[in-house]
């Protein structure tokens, strides 16, 4: 589009470049800026403006500057539970996902034929929304679902048993964690496999000559060189994990409060945009803090990379 505009300006007609010059002169200096301008304008409008507005909305109540929204959020009945549940979920799910994705990535390297097929199967959940993932696990974990049928077949239970009630918080938590691990490990896997492909084969071969065991090779070569990929995977995954809510709703309804869910309820049901904005600011603060922690903890010096 911008290209068309530059052309229509008729620059070519006015200053016809001499034959010897290879690069067309049509606004060469300005062109990159014209090309990125629409994207920047859009992001400013739909990223920076709402960001500023969210913060502003959260610190105004009745037209005056106040922390009333935050006070109301903190005094809300579900607040402490939402914070606790969300953090527990993140802490339980993310290490498992990273471990699982690492194992998958290493397995893929050892596969010869069929690697592409396996990779496709393992990345299918990438296209599954959190809502759909919640519904998938609901089909398995509901009272008369497949898990209970299997347990019944094995003689472990005598009839349909509820797992996802308010009375069974532990199994409800486990169910939600399972759905999250099932759905979102694929994104970690893809980032890590992209990183694994960047590690030169020679390093492993050299280690083989010195008689290194596979475990040593993994710990001393793969893991350190994978640090930048691990970092981006962790940042992306953690930010998304603090936003979790649809999978939780599909499985546990209101029995398992999470931060994003509370923001949604305050916005849509209570119609209190101020408190919803306070929750949104809270999520952003937590996400930013997590990002900074990862940036610091997994820092790599560029010269140490191949």
């Amino acid at each position: 589009m911008s290209l068309g505009r530059v052309d229509a300006g008729g620059m070519t007609a006015i200053a016809k470049p001499p034959r010897a010059r290879r690069e067309p002169r049509e606004g060469s200096r300005l062109l990159p800026y014209l090309l990125v301008a629409p994207a920047i304008a859009f992001l400013a409008l739909f990223f920076l403006v709402p960001l500023a507005q969210t913060v502003l909305l959260s610190v105004t109540a009745d037209g005056a500057l106040s922390f009333g929204n935050y006070a109301r959020m903190a005094n809300d009945l579900n607040f402490a539970a939402a914070i606790r549940d969300t953090f527990m979920l993140v802490v339980a799910v993310i290490p498992l996902q990273v471990a699982l994705a690492l194992a998958m990535g290493v397995m893929l390297q050892k596969l010869g034929r069929g690697r592409d097929l396996v990779l496709w199967i393992w990345t299918i959940p990438l296209g599954v929304s959190d809502l759909a993932a919640g519904l998938v696990w609901l089909a398995i974990l509901q009272n008369s679902g497949y898990l209970n049928s299997a347990l019944y077949g094995l003689g472990l239970i005598t009839g349909p048993t509820p797992w996802l009630n308010a009375e069974t918080p532990l199994t409800l938590f486990a169910g939600i964690a399972l759905a999250e691990i099932w759905r979102a490990t694929a994104i970690v896997l893809v980032i890590l496999v992209a990183g694994l492909q960047l590690i030169p084969k020679e390093f492993g071969e050299a280690a083989d000559i010195f008689g290194a065991t596979p475990w040593t090779k993994f710990r001393r070569i793969t893991l350190p060189l994978l640090k930048p990929s691990l970092q981006s995977a962790l940042i992306l995954r953690t930010v998304l994990a603090f936003e979790v809510f649809a999978a939780v709703y599909a499985l546990g309804g209101r029995n398992f409060p999470v931060i994003a869910g509370e923001a949604f309820i305050w916005q849509s049901e209570n119609q209190n945009y101020g408190v919803a904005a306070a929750y949104a600011v809270l999520i952003m603060a937590i996400s930013l803090a997590a990002t900074l922690v990862y940036l610091k903890a997994l820092r790599t010096r560029p010269e140490t990379l191949p």
Binding site: V6, D7, P32, S144, E243
Partner: protein, 268 residues
């Protein structure tokens, strides 16, 4: 020893494939089995008496078709916007060493550290004022904010992979920059651009939070499912979940070649 290792590896791969596929198979059973199968006890994992009745019944519920249509409209708009805005930006990043290029790249990466969907909360007020609230266009605008950074970074990688010399050759033969782009670069980048488009579509199709916040009557499919979740019978929920999954799985199959190019690019 070698044989044992190989056996262990293949078992692990098999188990993990089952871990991904079996749940999808089971929700398909739940969606196709209808009312009777949902409450059957104990269940069998073999398909018995499956039919499309339950899926069709779900689609006949008032509002489902409309919601699916809204989802498709929002996703197509997201796709178009992400391409229209992201492609030029990606081309600029790949071809010009302009001042501020690094800063721009950093901003694109930084948007990922923000829960962008949450930012739809304050947009409600603005959208009501300008008449975008409760329309697929409004939803698509927010979804574009999610998809745009990806589209720009991925297409930058795509264009960087197309040799500059090809373009220069076209210039020598008298093509303008725009014509050289259209005739030489675009055809080569097309498959990758299609992958970017599909990726943007899937991001929008799957998004729940912003879609639920920004619509009331003209729900997208995810937003519709979320609101009727509590009161709809189980087999309808499974049918809805299944309908959500099917296009995404097909799309991921279509872009599988590009998944790694995408993430490799946005890695550093």
């Amino acid at each position: 020893m070698r044989v044992q290792r190989r056996f262990l590896l293949l078992t692990g791969v098999g188990v993990l494939c089952a871990w991904v596929l079996v749940p999808i198979y089971l929700i398909a059973l739940g969606a196709l089995g209808g009312r009777a199968s949902v409450f059957k006890w104990p269940k069998s994992v073999w398909p018995a008496g499956t039919s499309l009745d339950s899926l069709l019944a779900f689609l006949r519920i008032e509002g489902v078709w409309q919601a699916a249509l809204n989802s498709v409209i929002a996703a197509c708009l997201t796709m178009l916007l992400a391409i229209a805005l992201g492609l030029p930006a990606g081309y600029a990043l790949a071809r010009f060493p302009f001042r501020g290029a690094d800063a721009f790249r950093l901003i694109l990466l930084m948007t990922r550290a923000f829960p962008l969907a949450i930012l739809s909360l304050p947009l409600t007020v603005i959208f009501i004022r300008v008449g975008l609230y409760d329309t697929p266009i409004g939803v698509a605008l927010v979804h574009t904010a999610l998809a745009l950074p990806f589209a720009a970074l991925i297409s930058a990688g795509l264009f960087a992979g197309i040799p500059r010399e090809l373009e220069e050759a076209a210039w020598v033969f008298g093509c303008s920059r725009a014509k050289a782009f259209r005739k030489v670069v675009l055809p080569l980048a097309m498959p990758g651009i299609a992958a970017v488009a599909i990726f943007a579509f899937v991001i929008s199709w799957n998004e729940v939070f912003a879609a639920s916040v920004l619509t009331v009557r003209h729900r997208t499919l995810t937003a519709y499912l979320l609101t009727v979740l509590a009161e709809s019978p189980l087999h309808y929920r499974f049918a809805g979940g299944f309908i959500l999954i099917v296009p995404s799985v097909l799309f991921i199959f279509a872009v599988r070649k590009y998944l790694f190019a995408m993430w490799g690019v946005s890695n550093r």
